[in-house]
Assembly symmetry: C2
Homo-oligomer: 351 residues x 2
DNA sequence: GTGAAAGCGCTAACAA
DNA sequence: TTGTTAGCGCTTTCAC
């Protein structure tokens, strides 16, 4: 059964018929092909007819011919994490500049991720892929590499792909921990992300570097591995508290984890920032909505999405480059969740 | 310049050649065409060859032939609003059941919205559209209707489209305001959304209905029109405070607005819920992260996305129905942001 | 049970 | 300056 709605659309042939020229001429005029010359009058009539008939090229036909879908796939692990909207916006803007569309896919489970990777690329639905997901198997990535598929990792690093764009997580972590050290904290805990992810490792690394530079000892009992979600942040914080070891500050691997930690601490009767300071990673409206508002390290998320997309587009255009960009953090945003360490020589603000 | 990567993909012809049959036979077998009989041995060899060559049908070619892109467009005004992930998840799940993909587009400005509407549909990039955006012009909607394009509005109502799926916002608002009235509040303010949007109007309506049912007078001075963002919630709350009229409770049009309101109140020295109770609309992790955790009305967001997509798919299949579903609220989730009105006969909890 | 052929709407090499 | 033609990869009717 033929669908009326979809078969009614204006085609190149309709325009050509109305003007009395060939389809190819219409195509050339509409594409503004510079290599071909058309009589000014013909061009005008074609343009007018196209507008009148509300012609829009069928992207399926065009894509089939040109072997391009003019679509980019963007894989996100979890839309609820407030860092992604920024990345997405950057990607969309970059894509739009080239008349590409972004197919956002939200792959929360592993099997689906693989299906997407294979499916989207192999079926020609997308010309390239942006992977912002942290958990993806290296085997899958390696495979896409074998197929020479244009793939860029966003905020994740792995060998053997078209490349990656990451923020300098270690530098960001140092910013956070330096800030705490400057406030006089000496027992600084770290709620880390899953340590099989590159991002989490780099932040842990920065944490250790900063400790060293500030003359503080690294104590593995102060590091609790959790995840990237609020849930996991809650649990991580509970485990940390259960150990009953002293600390006066926390560097959380990201925003949801910081939020979860704050909840647990408050329920346990701690006051933020009087008893404990917290620094989060990444900025988002959520950080301001928390009580107290969260001090965070700000990273160029929009920029990351934008540049990753630009790079992917270059890859699609046939560039042989391997992209490896590391964007520096944008700085620390001091809000209400950090204060001088209890008993430190600095006066406690507001008292 | 031909792109090697994209021209290398396995085609039906490759499989056919390997097996020694015609492309059409391969197509029939792989589509599992029930109307056609194939020798069991041939079928097995085709299946094996397809797997060996990692054949995946080119969706552009397939779509061109079948006049379907097998893609649904989903327009979202603002990814930062925490209600959308749920809707999106519902839509994706429903789409996946039919092997459709969801092209998520994030249309924050009007002109782009229109471009998207025209573009996606006319270029055949999507077979139908889910509009979750509140601001879209009725003229645009009317136009898509003229084109008989399959369009479903999600969480928004307008005449002349394929239909809409909304939650019962008025009932939800009544739940919220009834709750406050039950706690003894008599001066209940409402931070409304933009009153040119259907959603905001319906919530205001429910607010008024509940007041009436609870024997409370409607006082327009207690209603402040704001927007749907935290920013606007902040400003709305400031304007409400500036009026210096008494109130002991607030019903906020959504979550970001409730969060903004809470911030302003706290800065102004009010205690929540001791001095003022707040109820938000929609539930999301953010509600639990606030201090105190926000009492909210929970609505079936996932369900809404899911059912809207199902309905859209039916429209695409050629159904002539006009979808008009109104989903009832899932209930009120009582958290820490609401308590008995100051001076009411109920004992204040925890004291 | 399987193949041949047409055609979806577009672009581009080649002709005229 | 414009038209003719072939073909992208697929599905499907019709023939054998």
């Amino acid at each position: 059964m033929e669908d009326k709605r979809l078969s009614r659309r204006t085609t190149l042939r309709d325009v050509a018929r109305l003007v009395g020229v060939d389809r190819s001429t219409v195509s050339r005029v509409l594409r503004a092909d510079p290599a071909i010359s058309v009589r000014e009058e013909t061009r005008a009539r074609i343009l007018a007819a196209a507008r009148q008939l509300e012609y829009a090229p069928n992207s399926l036909a065009r894509g089939l011919k040109l072997r391009h879908s003019f679509t980019l796939g963007l894989l996100i692990p979890n839309l609820a994490n407030p860092v992604f909207p920024e990345i997405i916006k950057g990607a969309e803007d970059a894509a739009r500049e080239r008349d590409y569309l972004v197919l956002l896919t939200h792959a929360d489970d592993q099997s689906f991720e693989e299906r997407v990777l294979r499916g989207l690329l192999q079926q020609g639905r997308v010309d390239g892929l942006l992977l912002a997901t942290a958990q993806i198997q290296d085997t899958v990535i390696a495979e896409t590499r074998v197929n020479h598929a244009p793939v860029i990792l966003v905020n994740r690093r792995a060998d053997g792909t078209g490349g990656y764009i990451i923020t300098d997580d270690a530098a960001g972590a140092r910013l956070a921990v330096d800030h705490l050290a400057r406030l006089g904290h000496r027992r600084i805990a770290h709620l880390a992300g899953p340590l099989f992810t590159d991002t989490a490792l780099r932040r842990l690394q920065g944490y250790r570097q900063s400790l060293r530079q500030n003359g503080l000892d690294y104590d593995s009992a102060l590091v609790e591995e959790s995840g990237f979600t609020m849930e996991e942040g809650l649990q991580g914080m509970q485990r940390l508290l259960a150990r009953s070891i002293p600390f006066t500050a926390i560097f959380a691997v990201n925003l949801p984890v910081a939020a979860g930690a704050m909840l647990v601490l408050r329920e346990a009767g701690w006051r933020v920032p009087d008893d404990v300071s917290i620094v989060g990673f990444h900025d988002a409206p959520l950080a301001q909505m928390m009580t107290p508002p969260l001090t965070v390290v700000k990273l160029p998320l929009y920029e990351m999405g934008y540049r990753a997309t630009k790079a992917l587009l270059r890859l699609i255009d046939g560039a042989a480059e391997t992209v490896q960009e590391i964007l520096p953090p944008l700085g620390l945003i001091e809000r209400g969740s950090t204060a001088a360490a209890p008993g430190a020589d600095r006066t406690r603000p507001g008292i």
